[in-house]
Subunit: 467 residues, 4 copies
Amino acid sequence: MVLREPSLGPVFGIKGGAAGGGYSQVIPMEDINLHFTGDFAAIEKANNLLAALIDNNLQNKEHNLNIDPRTIKWKRVMDMNDRSLRQIVIGIGGTGNGIPREDGFNITPASEVMAILCMSKDIDDLKNRLGNIFVGFTFDKKPIFARDLKAQGAMALLLKDAIKPNLVQTLEGNPAILHGGPFANIAQGTNTILATKMGLSLGDYVVTEAGFGADLGAEKFMNIKCGYGKLAPEAIVLVATIRALRHHGGAKKEEYNTPSMERVSKGFQNLAKHIENCKKFGITPVVAINHFPADTTEEIEFVQTQCAALGVKAIVSYGFAKGGEGTQELAQAVCDVIDAGTNHFKPLYDWNLSVEEKIKTIATEIYGADGVEYSSKARTQLKMILNLGYDKLPICMAKTQKSLSDKETAVGRPTGFTINVREFEFAAGAGFIIPILGDMMRMPGLPAVPASEHMDIDNAGKISGLS
Amino acid sequence: MVLREPSLGPVFGIKGGAAGGGYSQVIPMEDINLHFTGDFAAIEKANNLLAALIDNNLQNKEHNLNIDPRTIKWKRVMDMNDRSLRQIVIGIGGTGNGIPREDGFNITPASEVMAILCMSKDIDDLKNRLGNIFVGFTFDKKPIFARDLKAQGAMALLLKDAIKPNLVQTLEGNPAILHGGPFANIAQGTNTILATKMGLSLGDYVVTEAGFGADLGAEKFMNIKCGYGKLAPEAIVLVATIRALRHHGGAKKEEYNTPSMERVSKGFQNLAKHIENCKKFGITPVVAINHFPADTTEEIEFVQTQCAALGVKAIVSYGFAKGGEGTQELAQAVCDVIDAGTNHFKPLYDWNLSVEEKIKTIATEIYGADGVEYSSKARTQLKMILNLGYDKLPICMAKTQKSLSDKETAVGRPTGFTINVREFEFAAGAGFIIPILGDMMRMPGLPAVPASEHMDIDNAGKISGLS
Amino acid sequence: MVLREPSLGPVFGIKGGAAGGGYSQVIPMEDINLHFTGDFAAIEKANNLLAALIDNNLQNKEHNLNIDPRTIKWKRVMDMNDRSLRQIVIGIGGTGNGIPREDGFNITPASEVMAILCMSKDIDDLKNRLGNIFVGFTFDKKPIFARDLKAQGAMALLLKDAIKPNLVQTLEGNPAILHGGPFANIAQGTNTILATKMGLSLGDYVVTEAGFGADLGAEKFMNIKCGYGKLAPEAIVLVATIRALRHHGGAKKEEYNTPSMERVSKGFQNLAKHIENCKKFGITPVVAINHFPADTTEEIEFVQTQCAALGVKAIVSYGFAKGGEGTQELAQAVCDVIDAGTNHFKPLYDWNLSVEEKIKTIATEIYGADGVEYSSKARTQLKMILNLGYDKLPICMAKTQKSLSDKETAVGRPTGFTINVREFEFAAGAGFIIPILGDMMRMPGLPAVPASEHMDIDNAGKISGLS
Amino acid sequence: MVLREPSLGPVFGIKGGAAGGGYSQVIPMEDINLHFTGDFAAIEKANNLLAALIDNNLQNKEHNLNIDPRTIKWKRVMDMNDRSLRQIVIGIGGTGNGIPREDGFNITPASEVMAILCMSKDIDDLKNRLGNIFVGFTFDKKPIFARDLKAQGAMALLLKDAIKPNLVQTLEGNPAILHGGPFANIAQGTNTILATKMGLSLGDYVVTEAGFGADLGAEKFMNIKCGYGKLAPEAIVLVATIRALRHHGGAKKEEYNTPSMERVSKGFQNLAKHIENCKKFGITPVVAINHFPADTTEEIEFVQTQCAALGVKAIVSYGFAKGGEGTQELAQAVCDVIDAGTNHFKPLYDWNLSVEEKIKTIATEIYGADGVEYSSKARTQLKMILNLGYDKLPICMAKTQKSLSDKETAVGRPTGFTINVREFEFAAGAGFIIPILGDMMRMPGLPAVPASEHMDIDNAGKISGLS
């Protein structure tokens, strides 16, 4: 099992920890949820070293690269839910304190350094990608990269341990490799290629995850990670819950635990679209119904029948309540699929297509959109991407995870919509272009009552409030 | 041997690493100089969690403490030489992004959390001190502390591993405990009380360090750390170099390696004052002359003769060139002093004196000043300190390490000067008052050519440029 | 003749003065183009007094209205092309210097105080409108108005002379009243109601202007100013140039002076649409062809023939070259129309319609759009406008003057487009709602070589560089 | 009578208008206290045009002067009490909105343009001085002046009417010229040289004013204005009040109207020092006791007797209560002194002395200080002034008006003190160096209840709340 590491920021917010639950948990939970092996701290440091080098270059008139401070795209990061740092002005206080400019902090998992770590196959590749990070433009409009600041060596040095995968175990003692932690809405959402390959070299079957809905995590896994990592998955486990189907069928938050055949049957259209999408990659998925206490037999059977009609097995998974034993049937079904050898992975699009064609393919094939619209800002940026020669990179959509469309409230299987590309970013080091649909948050905030208020440790080292 | 951990920020700047040199070094050097065991990262995170909680409290109208954003004293920290973060404006960008206010980052070792870690005797003490951190005032002028934000539990949780001392070894395999890393000019400059006590429980003789000149590190060690830790040192090793004596005798930077009896004899007055100061604590020091290649026998003998005239042994130490063997004579002399039992430690001042009396004592007795002047700002702050009831805390002077006075350029043993308290800060959690003499920098900057430019790691993991 | 006063800002920029040209000029030109009678300075002061009162209210805890500084909509103004003031952070520097917040300066003609002055019928009305200015919200989401700060009396006092119309003369000695100067793209674009009424009480025929294209100035004149001022125009002079028709027919800037029947005939569609629009207000316009040296007889005759086909007279005006004599024919034609009494003014829409209906009417009837789209931000603001009870106000579109659509480059008579409302503002005091289409600039910038570089005055008071 | 014009800012604050009171008033009061003839607005515009040109130069890469934005000394001004504008960050919002930098607004009378207007003898001199305004340094440390931005012509053009003196009258119909309005604590505090000279060309006796205490206004009048204007005053009227003498004798604010021989006799030492100072300029002053209702005969006679002992006439002036009639005796005494021809004006110091010597002369001779201390910042700036060649300019001290010393609370005639030069500014255009003693405010704030709240104008134009 190869998974992502959790970010510390949300631990103090609403979300809490991310080490799993019930009998389906990795341990030591407290360490995994806190500093763990220091990977995030190292990524943060590498990211912020580059930022300090940029501002230092602005300040010093020797070796000055003539960077226009208003064009700098590289932001600082902090693994903390800290909304006040989203948009800041730095370099105030006179000639000794740098050059004034606007800046902002993202949360650490949103750092391109995180994405680069996940994409790198070794230290040389890591350094190369770090050196390729796009920083901004000079006053003469020439692009500046991290390598122009000679930053990649020191950044890689800071990542010398972070690049090594971390081995932990489940409650039942099964090995789990945790490595890398990009979010799936704003980044590629999967663990490192190195960890996945390490898993492949050690086990017969390797299970990995792709965050959020299959329209985000799975699409990016197939088109980006498999491309860079030369991976060819042999099966997909598509995780569904009856709760989520009710939601996609129109249930409100307080009704998620209320059985309703009407809602499940309506919401099934969402799952059907995800199944259809998996098949577009040459793979017939196995659906895992993650069991919750309020699920009714009628609802479950309905889903199973509908899946069967689509040629797909849907199996109830009891991992939370029963651990490994509860997922035996599911595991068997997955092995059967793999052993049958009927799945033949193929990516959805060719990287050599134009950026607009690649985006259109994802939008129409995966999201079910009619087309794509670009803001005038996005069009300008698209030209810049073309001029800089980045148009052959794969696409990493930044889209809400709450809908197949780019509109949070459109549940189920929306149709008759266009998606709107508000602006573009690009990760020249990690190697992808990021069309941003709507307002995607890179730095979360804390809730009115942060989870931290209930956390404690006593003199004997006993921890409370962390889960 | 119980020492401090190095800060990562200066590693990329001019200073380079801080793991010692020659045969006098602790290993694994690369790890110690980089993330080490993550203590600094944990301190940074705990510091910044409090900052995020403060800004989150401003943002949320429920549970709002009515804090006046302009009075917030708690700054964020980053272990990076990053001058652009010294003075910033945060919370820009509308109602979703917090309340706009001025803020700034200090370097991590300057965090009060670092000072608190160094002063705490266990987790309960740690939490108590964290809760006592002063945050700022409400609009009604009431003080707000970290405990009002229920921050201390989560902060302590983040420090659960950082509070444990780190065991490393010297090149010769001798154990060394590295723990805590406050600077000695702006903070108390010594490792944690916990590490010192652990050392005392494990060894017959424990050697520890107190950063910068004896007017800073040693004075604070004796008056603050010994007070909180109930420690009574039995010997002082006063480290001197012929180079430094030349400097204090008037040599310019390019003349430091040029032998000069005139300069050494003039500069000796500086050492004499430090010897005198040690005796004020009831301890006759042993002077260690840290040997450099350009030292002449004549210069060394002069120092030894002069020291002898003051009743003090001065022994040449060859630790850099020869390791343990080179410091045998020194070690023996220190043991002799301890075994003789003639030293009887006593602090310089009574904590119950008024703040002005305590400062005056340090200024006149240790620095050799005629008196102390206060800016009008400092006087106002002094009243506030009195009103808040912090006047019985010990004093932690923030002063340049380059002179016994508060004027960098006054080398040797300056006389006929007054020191100027520009402003006050206070560490209500760590437990001391900080009079600030002159412009003390809390966040260094990088040089025109940062050390990071020469750092590298190759595909085999071989590191270069780090020392 | 009743006209607007020029803004000082653009005088130093690209645009230069705005007192007319050739024999068609008002004098004293230098004074009119500089401070004139101080009206703009008074408006600026009244605007900025309110701003100072707002920030003073934030600062003082007595009489504090609990305003959320992030919601303040009232900006400062300066009659200067000064792009650096567009977006600023104020209140930096500690507790004595106010509360930090984001702010910005608009150019003085963009001030709502300018709009209010233009709409007011007397001092009481002026004070009432000034008191109605919307400032922002409290932390409890209650709206705050200028009257809550008791600002209207002092603001009106500052405007005591500015409210009085200014009488100047043309080069030929004809009286001209100049009063008020709002821009026509971002504001209502016509002189004060008071000046227009003064003109009506003094002359038999009163000519006034409505800035930019008839889709902007005329539409707003008819629907807003006529509504508030109870005015019913009896004729419209629709000013056209052959140059502009060439432009709307596809000519580039360097081709504006190149005769081209093809372009004029294509560009005529733009004029035809404006003629059609005038008729929608119940008025058949007279077209004035403002003569330029490069106009050919063939082009002029084409326009006249086409106009005739639409039932409209098109007469060449030689005001620039010949003064009053050159406009005699035009004047006669206008008098004939008025005397015939065939025009019967009616507004385009009923103020009681919903905001969306009013906008849709203007967009489809006047611009020729297919429909209107709203950003999600605009929709939210629309709800707020409804909640505050401002939905029955007339509409003052902020749209580019370069096209009938909201896309600068769409010349001629564009079809098949929708307009996009990016956001809403509303002038609660002046009395209109402002849908903003695209990025409308409220504060211009200076060009690389500002006109000011060539301006001078010698010791004898002789002025150069101002025209 | 030649006087200064009032600033609008304080009119809305605590201070109210500045057109005099009782029977001693200039009219039309409302106009004088509001926009008057627009001089302040013109000065503000000229000042802010230069600021806009500076920021425009930063923005445009053509004609770019390579100015380091952090060194720009030229601030914007606004004639408004607006503390929130004291310290701001401008140029936020991306590449179109200028270069981000710190800036601030001063109140208009504090503008160097105001000082220049007061010092100029004609338009050529005005332009020359405007061109000499120091702006800041390039990144290569070269000084930049307004003339480098070709700003002086347009600035002078904006001042074409402001340079002309304004004629008003007293309530009794006597002519009064009002022109220029610099403050006396932070600037030179007297009306324009042009107005004074116009007065001299029109009347037999010209009375002018020099703001605040004679240690400020009079000293600057004698040493700066007389130097630039080649003026030689023949008499000094030293205005005193019994109230002020009580204050200097230790009375608290609420005791100012309580007769007290003890306080008056103690406070007389302050007046005695001012008399002594006048004599240092070769002029024996006439003391005018400005009469207040609570003055007792005993107090008045005491002052008169004491003055007589110093060879000085002290005459009670009843201008407020009785107008011209009440000042007849005073006027006669002044004429007598002039006609006697015994006064022979001489400046206090030679402009060719070093800056330190000039400052020392003022400090010891006029203030009664023992000496002068310089902060390290001031010393650095002094070197810069020397390097730029401005050390031969006269000195314009920025000092509190509340004490002869630089410490507000030191009433009476303080002795045994040194003054502290915190920093330097210099007005290269106006022609003086400004040593800043303590925190001198350049931009006032409004009180909790601004005077503006009570101001009004009714529909008939009747004004209230302005006095």
